[in-house]
C-alpha cells in the first residue's frame, strides 16, 4: 500500500488563492527584519511541526498577545522553543499569521478515506522486536521517551499510522526531519524493521484514569 502517512494522509490541492498568503516572510526593506523572520520560520519548522502540520497554524489570525499566549500553551504541552529563538518565532507568527492574514483556501484532492481498519504490512519474519528494543533504547529513547510515548524533543510513536508500512518509516529514520537527526549511517533498513517490530508490540492502553 502506498498510503504515505508521513507526508500527509491525503494529497492536498491548493485550489484557489484568496488574497495574499504571507506564508514566507515578505521581502522586508529592513534586512534585519527579514533575517529575523527567516530565522523565525526555521524555529517554526523545528518547534511547531512535530505534533501538527502547519495549516492549523497558518490559518490563524492572531495578534501579538494571542501568539504569546499560544506559544506558552504549546510549550506547556511539550513544544521545545529555546529562549533565544522565541523572539524570532513570535515575530514571524505575528507577521505571517496576524489579524491581517487571509489564508488560501485548501481543499482535499480526494474524498475522505473510508477504511474501517488500517492495513498493516508486518515486518518480515527475520525482524526481531527484541533487537529493535535494544536499538530503540540506544538511539531513539532519549527523544521519543523510553516507552515511546513522547519525550524531548520527539512525539509519541505508539499506535501511529507511521508504523503501518516499512516505508516511509525507514525513510524518516534514515533521513530525519526537522529536529529528528538522520540515522542512515547507523541504522540499516533491516534494523529499521527491527525497531518497527518493537514499536508495533507496544499497545496504546487507554489513557490512565486518575
Amino acid at each position: 500500500m502506498n498510503h504515505h502517512p508521513l507526508t500527509t494522509p491525503i494529497a492536498l490541492t491548493l485550489a484557489l488563492l484568496v488574497g495574499l498568503f504571507p506564508i514566507a516572510p515578505t521581502p522586508a526593506q529592513d534586512d534585519e527584519e527579514g533575517e529575523r523572520l527567516a530565522l523565525g520560520r526555521i524555529a517554526f519548522d523545528n518547534a511547531c511541526r512535530m505534533c501538527h502540520e502547519p495549516a492549523l497554524v497558518e490559518q490563524q489570525r492572531l495578534n501579538a498577545a494571542q501568539w504569546d499566549a499560544e506559544i506558552d500553551k504549546m510549550i506547556g504541552w511539550g513544544a521545545r522553543v529555546a529562549p533565544e529563538e522565541r523572539p524570532n518565532l513570535h515575530a514571524y507568527l505575528v507577521a505571517a499569521f496576524g489579524p491581517q492574514n487571509q489564508p488560501a483556501l485548501q481543499v482535499l484532492a480526494d474524498p475522505i478515506p473510508k477504511p474501517v481498519a488500517h492495513h498493516l504490512v508486518p515486518p518480515p519474519p527475520t525482524a526481531s522486536a527484541q533487537r529493535g528494543a535494544l536499538l530503540y533504547a540506544q538511539h531513539c529513547a532519549n527523544c521519543h521517551g523510553p516507552d515511546a510515548r513522547g519525550g524531548d524533543p520527539g512525539q509519541n510513536l505508539v499506535d501511529q499510522e507511521s508504523l503501518l508500512t516499512p516505508e516511509p518509516f525507514a525513510a524518516i529514520v534514515a533521513n530525519g526531519r526537522h529536529r529528528m537527526p538522520a540515522f542512515a549511517e547507523v541504522i540499516t533498513a533491516s534494523a529499521s524493521e527491527d525497531i518497527r517490530a518493537w514499536l508495533l508490540s507496544l499497545t496504546g492502553e487507554p489513557s490512565p484514569n486518575p
Partner: protein, 389 residues
C-alpha cells in the same frame, strides 16, 4: 432503518470503495486543477495532520450528509485501528466490571438502535467571531447529519450494573497525545445524559461500518449536544462520582453563563460547559458569491437545534421582511430539517438571509455573543448573489 437491514448492501459498496482506494493510492495522486463540481464537494482543509476538514455548504441540501463528505475533527493524530482486537472495558462504580471484544458485542444481546442526528462541532463558525479567537477556524461546514447505528450506552452500562454513587461516565479513547505533557482527550458526560435513550455507541454511519477517520470502530453519539461529547475511538467507559479531570473537561469547552464584553473572560465559576446545540440554519444554495441566471430560483438549506425543535425558518431578501420558508419533515427529534423557498429575482445584486426559530421562540441573533474560544456561533447566515439577465 435498522442496523441489520442496511449493513450487507453497504458493506459491499464499502469493500468496492476500499479496493478502489487501494488501487489508486490517495497520496500519490498528482495535484491537478479541480473542476468546479469537484471543488464544491471536496472538503475544506483546516489542518492536514491530524486532519481537520469541513464540508462545503452545497452538501447541506439533503437529510443525510454522505460519509465521504462528512467533516473531520481530530485533536491528536488518529490511532492506528485494526492492529489487534478492539476491546472495550466497562468499569468504575459498577457492580460487575467487564471487558468485551467488539466483535463479540452481539453476545450481550443488546437491542440494536439507530438514530438520525446532527453532529456539529462546538467551534463551528469560530472564524466569524470578532475579535478573532485561536482554534480551528471553522466557517460553516463543521456540521452534518447522519444515521448513526449501534447500541444504547445505557444498555451497555446497565449490563455492568450501576453503583448508587454513579454520577458521570468517563470515556477512555485510543488516540494517544503527542507528548506526555499534552493532556489526554479525557472527557465525561453526566449519568442522566449517558442513560438517555438517544445516547448510542455507534459502529455504523449511514448504514456503513464507521470509518476509522470518523472514530471507528466505536464512537459515542450524543444527539442534541455538541461534537466534543461525540467521542471517537472509545476503548473504555469508567463510571465515576465526579466529572473527568483535566484540560479537555475542566478548562476547554466552557463558555460564559451570561454574555461578556468581547475580549474578556469571566472567572471559572461563571463559566458553564458547552452542551446543547443552539438554533441555527444555513444556506446550501445559492452559495455566497454565486452568479446565477435570472428566472425562478429555489433557495435550499438546513435548520437544526438541540432539544427544542425547530419551529420555523424565514428568509429575508435585501434586508426586507422575514417571510416563511417551507420546512421539510423531521426525520427524528435530532435530525436537521431541510427547508426551501421559491424566489423570483430581478437582475442585479442581492443579499439573502435565513434564520430559524425554535419552539420556545428563540431566534438566531445577528451575531452570537463573543466567547474566548469561539463556541456555538449561530449568527444569521447571509449570502450575496448576482443575478444576470
Amino acid at each position: 432503518m435498522s442496523l441489520r437491514e442496511t449493513t450487507p448492501r453497504h458493506s459491499l459498496r464499502r469493500r468496492h470503495l476500499l479496493r478502489l482506494a487501494l488501487a489508486a493510492p490517495l497520496a500519490s495522486s498528482l495535484p491537478r486543477q479541480l473542476t468546479a463540481q469537484e471543488q464544491r464537494i471536496r472538503l475544506i482543509v483546516r489542518g492536514e495532520r491530524p486532519l481537520n476538514a469541513e464540508t462545503p455548504v452545497s452538501v447541506f441540501d439533503r437529510l443525510l450528509t454522505p460519509t465521504e463528505s462528512f467533516f473531520v475533527r481530530s485533536h491528536f493524530r488518529p490511532p492506528a485501528v485494526g492492529l489487534r482486537p478492539w476491546v472495550v472495558r466497562v468499569e468504575g462504580l459498577v457492580e460487575r466490571p467487564f471487558q468485551i471484544n467488539l466483535k463479540e458485542l452481539d453476545t450481550l444481546r443488546l437491542e440494536p438502535s439507530s438514530i438520525v442526528a446532527v453532529l456539529q462541532c462546538a467551534g463551528n463558525g469560530r472564524a466569524f467571531f470578532e475579535p478573532v479567537v485561536p482554534g480551528v477556524p471553522w466557517r460553516k461546514g463543521a456540521v452534518g447529519c447522519a444515521e448513526w447505528s449501534g447500541v444504547r450506552l445505557a444498555d451497555l452500562i446497565r449490563h455492568a450494573g450501576l453503583q448508587p454513587q454513579a454520577a458521570h461516565v468517563h470515556t477512555l479513547t485510543a488516540d494517544i497525545p503527542p507528548h506526555p505533557q499534552t493532556p489526554p482527550f479525557l472527557r465525561s458526560i453526566p449519568l442522566d445524559r449517558a442513560l438517555h435513550p438517544s445516547t448510542l455507541l455507534a459502529t455504523h454511519i449511514n448504514g456503513e461500518p464507521l470509518p476509522a477517520i470518523h472514530g471507528g470502530p466505536l464512537r459515542l453519539i450524543v444527539p442534541g449536544w455538541t461534537g466534543n461529547h461525540w467521542i471517537k475511538w472509545i476503548r473504555g467507559l469508567v463510571v465515576s462520582s465526579e466529572e473527568a479531570p483535566g484540560f479537555y473537561q475542566q478548562t476547554a469547552y466552557r463558555m460564559p453563563l451570561h454574555p461578556v464584553p468581547p475580549g474578556t473572560n469571566p472567572p471559572p465559576d461563571q463559566l458553564v460547559p458547552v452542551t446543547e446545540l443552539n438554533i441555527k440554519s444555513l444556506f446550501a444554495r445559492p452559495e455566497d458569491g454565486a452568479i446565477i441566471a435570472s428566472g425562478r430560483q429555489r433557495l435550499v438549506g438546513a435548520a437544526w437545534s438541540g432539544f427544542t425543535p425547530v419551529e420555523r425558518v424565514e428568509i429575508s431578501i435585501n434586508r426586507g421582511p422575514w417571510t416563511p420558508a417551507q420546512l421539510g419533515p423531521a426525520a427524528s427529534p435530532f435530525a436537521w430539517r431541510i427547508w426551501q423557498h421559491e424566489w423570483d429575482p430581478t437582475p442585479g445584486h442581492h443579499e439573502l438571509a435565513v434564520r430559524a426559530t425554535d419552539a420556545h421562540g428563540t431566534t438566531q441573533p445577528e451575531s452570537t455573543p463573543w466567547n474566548k474560544s469561539g463556541y456555538l456561533w449561530n449568527g444569521i447566515d447571509r449570502v450575496r448573489v448576482e443575478v444576470r439577465a
